[in-house]
């Protein structure tokens, strides 16, 4: 198990290094002069030269690459062009909010989706199964940002049950939770249906396997077989699919943040794009990449915990 984890961590580091290289290349492959883009078309040539020097853009590309990587290694992501604050601090403040939103969304989707899938698989083609199937496929098709807008209109603007904007007062947990309910609902709803369908299909397949017949032949009850012996196997592919889909979940969270004006990576990236604030944009993209890699790493480790056969290869 330890060697498996170490190998997966090693692979993740490799992916991270490749991501940094691609990110750096992208910045310099994009056509156009960064100084003109940053300062606007009316900037004087003198201003542009000063800008290039301050950003180190007058250096040869390999030197720039070296600076980029060595600054990354010390945790320096550059400074915000507008506020002159370190990007690391901005990203560091935004990251927990986005992670909280994404995990809350996924968490409640799992809490609802897994039992729904189990009920469906235990009674396939029953009325309950059909109803769950109908609800699932309906919500899967709903984009989270669209849902966010409707939730905002219905519950925050018209009914005034829940707050519309922001993430709540710092330090006030109750207020923060109130601010989390609607965005988390928007982020997770599509996943409820998705997870319910995945669990249903996977559990139905597992229940066909020969070992399930063995347990039935020993008189173990169908519910116990499904929950104790089939569900852990059925969850293996579900966990893998969720891991791959976490990127999707993050981008959903990012859009929902923009709709709810919630501080987070989404708002940060959105503002950075609209104000052409490239160090902040690079910082958010890098951290999002890191988040994605961390999510995949935890998926791999969780899969190995569920499936002893994965741990075998050292």
């Amino acid at each position: 198990m330890i060697s498996y984890v170490l190998r997966q961590v090693g692979l993740s580091v490799g992916v991270l290094v490749s991501a940094i290289i691609i990110l750096f290349s992208l910045i310099y492959l994009v056509p156009g002069d960064p100084a003109t883009i940053a300062l606007g078309p009316r900037a004087s040539e003198q201003q542009k030269i000063v800008f290039r020097q301050s950003m180190g853009l007058d250096q040869p590309v390999p030197v720039q690459a070296f600076h980029f990587v060595s600054k990354l290694a010390t945790g320096d992501l550059g400074t915000d062009l507008l506020t002159r604050q370190p990007v690391l601090r901005l990203v560091g403040a935004a990251l927990p909010k986005t992670v909280t939103l994404a995990l809350t969304g996924l968490g409640w989707a799992l809490l609802l989706g897994v039992p729904m899938g189990c009920i469906s698989a235990m009674r396939p083609d029953s009325m309950t199964d059909r109803l769950i199937g109908l609800v699932s496929t309906s919500v899967v098709a709903l984009p989270s940002f669209l849902l966010a807008i409707y939730l905002l209109i219905a519950f925050a603007v018209t009914l005034r049950w829940l707050p519309a904007m922001g993430a709540g007062e710092p330090g006030d947990i109750g207020d923060q939770i109130q601010h989390l309910i609607l965005p988390a609902f928007a982020v997770g709803l599509g996943w409820v249906g998705y997870i319910a369908r995945l669990v249903r299909a996977s559990l139905l397949e597992t229940l066909q396997e020969n070992h399930v017949r063995t347990y039935r032949a020993f008189g173990v009850s169908d519910t116990r077989i499904a929950m104790r012996y089939a569900l852990p196997i059925a969850m293996i592919p579900v966990v893998a699919v969720i891991g791959v889909g976490l990127g999707n979940l993050l981008s959903g969270a990012v859009l929902v943040e923009v709709v709810f004006s919630r501080p987070g990576l989404g708002s940060l990236a959105h503002d950075a794009v609209t104000t052409r604030n490239s160090p902040v944009l690079v910082g958010t993209v890098l951290v999002t990449t890191l988040l994605y890699i961390a999510a995949n790493l935890s998926t791999d480790i969780l899969s190995a915990l569920l499936d002893p056969r994965l741990r075998k290869e050292a």
């Binding site: 396997e209 020969n210 070992h211 017949r213 063995t214 347990y215 039935r216 032949a217 020993f218 008189g219 173990v220 009850s221 012996y229 852990p232 196997i233 293996i236 569920l306 499936d307 002893p308 056969r309 075998k312």
Partner: protein
Amino acid sequence: MTAIIDMNDFSITYAGERGPVPAVRGVNLTLEKGRILGLVGESGSGKSSLVSAMLALLPKSAKVSGRLSIGADDLYALSEAQRRAMRGQRLATVSQDPFTALNPVIRIGAQLVEFQHRLKGISRSQKLERAREMLARVGISDPGTRLTQYPHQLSGGLRQRVAIAAALLVNPSILIADEPTTALDATTEAEVIEIIRELRGAVDGSIVFVTHDMGVVARLCDDVAVMYAGELVESGPVAEVLERPQHPYTRALLACDPARIETPSRSLPTIPGTVPSPHALPAGCIFSPRCGAVIDICRSVRPAFLPSDQSRVACHRTEAS
């Protein structure tokens, strides 16, 4: 003599998309306590359906008629809950494929404890100890370590021994071994058969051993029942049926057993034709389209399953003689 399994005109019909499928028809079979029955037949002969019926594991689409008694109980007159209560207590099974019969993500020990769930009043550690002793009895070395391992860490032969140990742990009155050696190589097969021979005394009841290998029947079983296309064509003591087969299908089956062929030839003997589909069964005797000794009556009247010497046979030719 007490009959432990008694089937009387027992039939199984599946609800299929193209209408009902009569998979097993009119089986009359008795197995006495302490004996090993070899249930022989080709793929599609209905032996797997019959095994599922004996284990009360038929799918919902199956309808049964006639009687199948386990001891004094008419199995299909009982409620579903009563039938389930027999599984894992009076009925136990060793399945065909040792590679898929155990849960891949649970340790062997935990699985063997679960299989003893009917045993009340003994602790988990006592069940684990029973499991360890049983693994030692089926010839598994270092049983303590095996209990902490996962199925994929064991070879096929070891896994089948674990499955046999699992079945013996519940002290069944009927142990049904559904082709337990088909997936194993010849050496391992011989070992597994040897274990069942040695442990037959540990089963306080009878063993049904499903196979398509007449050689295994000869080595292991006391009685043999031959199935063809969903019907029982011949049954009786092994010595009798193997030495003096009366049904043409039994004779053909024995003639195809490579171990019994005395003069080497370029090709193995086969039975001409194919097993009829349950959707298009021939009138009269089920074997008549492929039978070399067919007479007129075979094509119109279904032969009764009648005693003949020490066996019972469904054939017009033996009836006539």
